[in-house]
Every structure is written in C-alpha cells, then in structure tokens.
Symmetry: C2
Subunit: 446 residues, 2 copies
C-alpha cells in the first residue's frame, strides 16, 4: 500500500494521494469483512426506510429532473427502478437514514454508511466496477469522510463559539450546529467516487475540494420534526458525486479545503479542529473498523443510557412498572441533541427523546424499529414514564466523548430501591460488536 509521502505539502494532499493509490490487495482481511457486514447492515436500513414521505418527495424530484432510466438501482417505495448514479444515490442515501439504525463512527460522530454505500453502489453500477473495486472505494470513502469529521471535531457538531452578543460583551454558548454525517460525508463520497472513477491524486484533490465547498447540513429540522436529515444524506451523495465527476471532467477544486485559511475548518469549526486526524495513521487505522452497528433504532446518543438501563434492570431484576425515576448521566452533545425535540411528536422525533426511548426500552426490553410506531406515540404508559426521565451532564463522560460513548443511569424505584449502572462500550461498538447471523452466505461473497 502506498504510504503517505512526507514531501507532499498538505495533509489533504496526502489523503488524496492515498485515495488514488489504495488497492484492494492492500486491505487487511478484517477490513474487507467488516466492509461487507456494514454494507449488509446498510442495505437493511435502506429497505426499512424506503417508504418514508421524504423519500417519496425525492423520488418525485428525480422523476421530474433526472433521466427516465439508468444503470443505477433505486431502493425506494415506488415503481421506479433505475436512474443515473447521482439520483439513485440521492434517493438511496435518503432511504437509508430514515429508521435511525445505520452505523455510527464514534470518533467523528458520523453515520458513514448512509452516504458512502449509496453513492459508491450507484457509481459502481454505472461504471461496471467489480466487487473488489467497490469495496476499495467504500473503504476510501469511510476513511476520508470520517477523517474529515474527526478533523472538524465535536465542536463542529456541537459548536462552542465565543461570540459577541453586544459590542462589549462576550458570551459563550454551546449549541449543536452541523450534521457531520453530511458535512464530512460529502467529502467522503467524493473520495469514494474518485476512486471508482480512477482519478489521479490531483483530480481527487479537486473532488475533495469541490465537495468541501458544498458542505452543508443544519440541525434546525430537529426542532419541528421536519425531514432535513434525509435531505442531508441524500444531498451529500449527490453533491459528492458531482464533485468527483466534475473533477474528472476538468473542474479544479480548492486544493486545501480542509485546513486552508478559508476552508472547512476555518468556516465550520473555527479554532477547534484536530489537524492530525486528517492523515495520522493513514493505512494503519481503518475507519470501517471504528464504526459501530446500531442495535437500537433510536438516536445513537440515547444508546449509552439504553444499554445502561437494560443492564441495570437485568442485574437487579427491576421491572418497568417498578421504576419511579431515571437520571441519564451523559455528555453535552447528547443533551444538546436530545433536548431539542420536546415530547417527540412523530415516530422519527420520538427516537430523539431520551425519555421516550428509555420508556420504550424499559417497557419492551428493547428499542427496535418495530417498537417505534404511531401506536407507541399514543401509549399512555410510555408517555408517563417519559416524564420521569431527566438528563444530567457528567463531566467525566463528556471529557471522553466522542472517543468513547459512555453512559450511566441512576434509577429510583417506587419502593425506594436505588441503583446505578454504567456501560463502557455500547452494544454494537467495535469493542463489543454484534454477533453475525448469516443464513444467506452473502458475507462470503465479494
């Protein structure tokens, strides 16, 4: 495998060089195997999300604006079957981010599968790439996307800005701002597609640059349960494909979009970036190995508390109806995200309510796709339990986030019993991964 060359000027150039030169035979077996597992996990998420209204609206857009057919397959709820890679990935990228069960790369706070797989699959189908090329491109996409997310850091996702409220008054406010899956994702998509198009390092650098200057995605939608989350992932696919194809066809992009003085770091995460994350350990660490499967079908920020609560209930034989109150001790980003949704008025929004998710988990012993339904939203027991859950910032847990997503819950029972339980690694984390159930033999195919 090509190592990064010290003679190259910038870290982003090293990343582009690595992207252009990586070969399938460079990849360790566990990287290949994990990529296949992540792909199958993604496919399940995509199928599960294909009937969402956001997907239907995007399909309608593709029908009006795109070609009537193409080589790239759609996974949606309509009768349309194929389109061009840009539109197929726009649709599949939206579908796969509906049910909140797609993977999560801890350190970058990103869901890489939902942007990398749909775009790489659509382009691979269009270019007749074989399985090895496809896997190599996906590994590249994960790597570049997650490294971009890590570089932008948790302050990008959960920006801490000292800004001026009045001329002479400084105020520090911590709010959650950018949907890293989209902003880092579009860069990863560009790299994956660049690899499939066999772009050289210079063209790949342009693809990364043109992707980065399109990076967008705000969390405002979470406040009113609107559908931008699926727009963000679908558009990251579309925009990253645009970046790579246009780079191939002669459109130069900014050469230092990550670290440049007017680049992503400066504009989207000022003063809070981690430059080493861009290229340190490239080809030694693999982002696909750092991504977690989501066991629960809710926002990942609820998982530490769900795991801790389920462990506590099992350990101490506590039943749903016996619980009087739950305190979920967590990190700041979780409070920022989960504090936005209020009661949780829709199925999707309810997955972002710590109280509702813990209620579901406590009552059903799990928090799967089938546990989040319209009926569940009307369940008086769940709604009542939800009111008795609070979140508290735990400075120790916060300091470790996002390298570790730890959780602690403290439960008081109606009969006065009190318990506390913590989890170090979530179910689905690389350190605590899921077991494989394979009745198809798919994971043996390339």
């Amino acid at each position: 495998m090509t190592q990064s060359r010290p003679s190259l000027e910038t870290r982003t150039e090293r990343l582009a060089q690595w992207t252009a030169n990586l070969q399938y035979h460079d990849l360790p077996d566990e990287v290949i195997q994990r990529t296949k597992e992540l792909f199958i996990d993604w496919l399940g998420c995509t199928i599960a999300g294909r009937h969402h209204p956001a997907v239907a609206a995007i399909v309608r857009f593709a029908t009006q604006m795109g070609p009537s057919s193409g080589k790239s397959e759609l996974i949606d709820g309509s009768l349309r079957l194929t389109s061009s890679p840009a539109f197929a990935s726009l649709i599949n990228g939206a579908s796969s981010h509906v049910v909140e069960q797609d993977d999560l790369h801890n350190r970058s706070i990103m869901h890489p599968a939902t942007v990398i797989f749909p775009s790489a699959l659509a382009v691979a189908q269009d270019t007749h790439a074989d399985g090895k090329e496809f896997i190599t491109a996906c590994v590249v996409g994960y790597e570049v996307g997650c490294r971009t997310g890590e570089y932008l850091g948790k302050r990008h996702y959960e920006v801490c800005t000292q800004f001026r409220v009045h001329v002479d008054e400084a105020k520090t406010t911590t709010v959650q701002k950018f949907h890293s899956t989209a902003t880092g994702g579009v860069v990863g998509v560009a790299a994956a597609v660049a690899r499939l198009l066999h772009l050289d390092a210079n063209q790949t650098l342009s693809a990364i640059g043109t992707a980065g200057t399109q990076a967008a995605g705000l969390w405002q939608f979470l406040l009113d349960a609107t559908h931008s989350k699926q727009v963000h992932t679908g558009k990251a696919c579309f925009d990253g494909i645009f970046a790579a194809y246009s780079a191939r066809d002669g459109l130069p992009g900014p050469r230092d979009i990550l670290e440049g003085a007017r680049g992503m770091g400066a504009a989207l995460a000022p003063g809070e970036t981690d430059p080493e994350a861009i290229s340190q350990g490239l080809g030694l660490d693999y982002a696909v190995l750092g991504s977690s499967f989501k066991w629960h079908a809710s926002c990942r920020h609820t998982h530490p508390s769900v795991d801790a609560l389920l462990a506590l209930m099992a350990k101490h034989q506590v039943k749903f109806h016996e619980i009087d109150s739950v305190v979920a001790r967590t990190y700041q980003a979780a409070i920022n995200v989960l504090g936005l949704t209020g009661r949780g008025e829709t199925v999707h929004q309810s997955k972002f309510s710590m109280g509702f998710v813990l209620a579901v988990a406590a009552k059903n012993g799990q928090a799967m796709i089938t546990d989040f339904t319209e009926e569940a939203l009307e369940d008086a027991e769940l709604r009542e339990f939800q009111q008795r859950v609070t979140m508290e910032l735990d400075p120790e847990i916060d300091a470790k986030f996002p390298k570790q997503w730890q959780g602690t819950v403290a439960v008081v029972c109606k009969d006065g019993r009190k318990y506390t339980e913590s989890v170090e690694y979530l179910k689905g984390d690389p350190e605590n991964s899921l077991t494989t159930y394979d009745s198809t033999g798919l994971s043996e195919q390339c």
Copy 2:
C-alpha cells in the same frame, strides 16, 4: 399587496406569506422596469461566460446525470440545447458568474441575478409561466435572497470570530468565509421557484427551510484560482429548485431556518445577525431597486478604487505612465477578499487583485471584459504598476460598508504631484445608475 400580518409567529413566516401572496399588479412600475433591465444584464453575463471550463465540466455532468432533453434552455458553449429546470439552471447559473460583471446588491454583498434569473427562467420555461409570473417570481427571489444575505450580515461574508487558539487564549481574527451569493442565494431561489409553482405560505416556508439547510459556499477557491465560484452559483440554483419542488411534493422543511436556534444565523453567522432585515419594509423597499449594475468586469470590491482612480486621473490630467504609487483606502472586506489572490495568475483571479485591476483601469481608461485577457496577464507594464498599489483600511469607509461602497485613492506621481480622490456612489449603483442603450425594444416587452 398582502401586508405582513403581526399575528404570524416568526419573521421567516412573514416572508413566506408575502412570497406566496405577491401579485404582479402589486409591483410598482419601476420595480418591473428594473427587473427587466437586470434580466437583460444577466443574459449578457451568461452569454459571455458560457465557454468557461467550469461550465463545460458542469454540462458534462448534466449530460451524464440528467435527462437528454427538457423544456428549459441551456446557455452554454456546447451543442446541448435543453434539460430539466434543475440542470439548466445549474449550467446557466455557473455561466453567468464567470465574467464578474453580474449585478451586486450592496447591503447583502450578494450577486442576486446569477442565482435568481437562471432558476426562475428554467422553471418558468418548464411550467409555461408567462412574463408577469416570471417577473413576480424574480422580484420575490431577489427580495428573499437579499434579505437572507442582509440578515446574515457582513460578518457572515467576512466572519469576525473570537475563537480559542489555545485553551486559555482568546484571539480575534477577521477572515472572509461564506460566499453570500450562494448561501443567501439558495434561499432566494427556493422562494422564486415556490412562487412559480404557486406554493402556499406553508409550502413556501418548507422550501425556504430545505434551501437554508443546504446553504454552502466557502472562499477557499480564491487562494488557488479554482472554480468553486461558478459551482456555488450553479448549485444554489439546483439546490433551491430541489427545495421548492420537494416542498410541493410533500417534504416539510424546518420552519425557522433563519432565526432558529440551530438555523442559518446560529451556525453561519453566530451573534452577528440583523433580524430586522428579514421582514422590515417588506413590500415597501424592493431588493431589485437596491442592486447595482457592474460597470467594470472585476471583483466589485475593486470598483470603489477604480472609480476614484479614473476620476482622479480625469480631474488632474494624470496619465498611466506618470503614476508612481497608488494607495487604495477601503473597507476590511475588500482587503480580505483582494488580499487572497496574490499576483493573479489566471484571468479570473486577476480580477480579484486590486493592483492588477487598478493597473488595467489606469492604462486602458476602463476595466471591461475585453481588458482582462491572457495577454494582459503577460503585460509587463501592468505587472509593474500592480506592484506599486497598496491597500489601506479606512475606518470611516469600513463603518459605512456594505450600505455604501465608498472608495478613496491617494496617488503620488513620479514628478512629485500628490492627489486624493473619493467616490461616494459607484458607477452602476442605484444612486448613480447606468444609462440605457436599447436598440432592440426588449425593455418594452414583458
């Protein structure tokens, strides 16, 4: 015309309501007339820019990803003639931002024509809208786009962030970050297209929301003369069209994307927004009347100094070869933008070099499209003069920017003469507009 209703909750809702209800017969004659003039000005810019390599690459993308034909016309250098509205506007929006002669709305620091006209034209062709509907949509697009830009303010364009360099050290840095034409533009496009699609206020609010969550565009490209500027305008068209069509087809967007706690203001211009700009004077002031024609084919930030220099040379009969040095006293944003490009290695980049542009103006008595050529880049006289131009921050001028774009130049002649000249309103400003040359009668047609 429908006035904003005090009962509406947010300023963005008021803007959406106004957008949905505005009628052609509400528009003052001067608004209609100016819109026609701006459209003709835009068309000239689009034709002039259609052969740029960025446009060719985008056409290639549209050929691979889009339909083979459609109802919307392309203005490009290829033999392709039509496409769907999204791709036609992607191409035309790129073409019209090549030669740097498209209009400029002072207070928002935006080029509205290059995003509003291509998208409104493409959708009007697709929906068979008549001229009155088209003009109404363009007025709406200018208004919503420019108000978004004004709301985000000059700190969005030229962000002043107090950020942490080290844990205990605060540092204030002023850098230019977001290409407002794209970030405000995408919101304006969504509104213009929403009007053409006859969306109601609620759907329009969704269109604005979905547009805003896609807002992107960084200035990094200016450092290495790459082509993101055209990507930004073309993509603002595409993305705004996506937002409006998907809103019509059932995709709800965030309802308070401008002022919401996780919206554009919070993420892209923290602590520096001007909320009043969103809805104050709606239906009384018109953005189309506040937009300036660009007389010179260079970055608008050079225009105050160009006008002042040409005035000085005329007034005091100073010739090009007599000038020893020029100090251009200007505002901070001009220094930020024009300080990025170094010597100006390409035709486009040379238009962003204060020294080069003043050299061209001083030597040729003008700075038109035909003055910026490959030959000019090799002109030793221009290059030598360029070295003798410096920029200085003028606090008084800076305080008035962007409401006024004033300029002062101080010239020292080789024979020791010294002159200073200032301009209050630029040639092309609404207060100092261009005369009309109309041999076609086009401006009389709707």
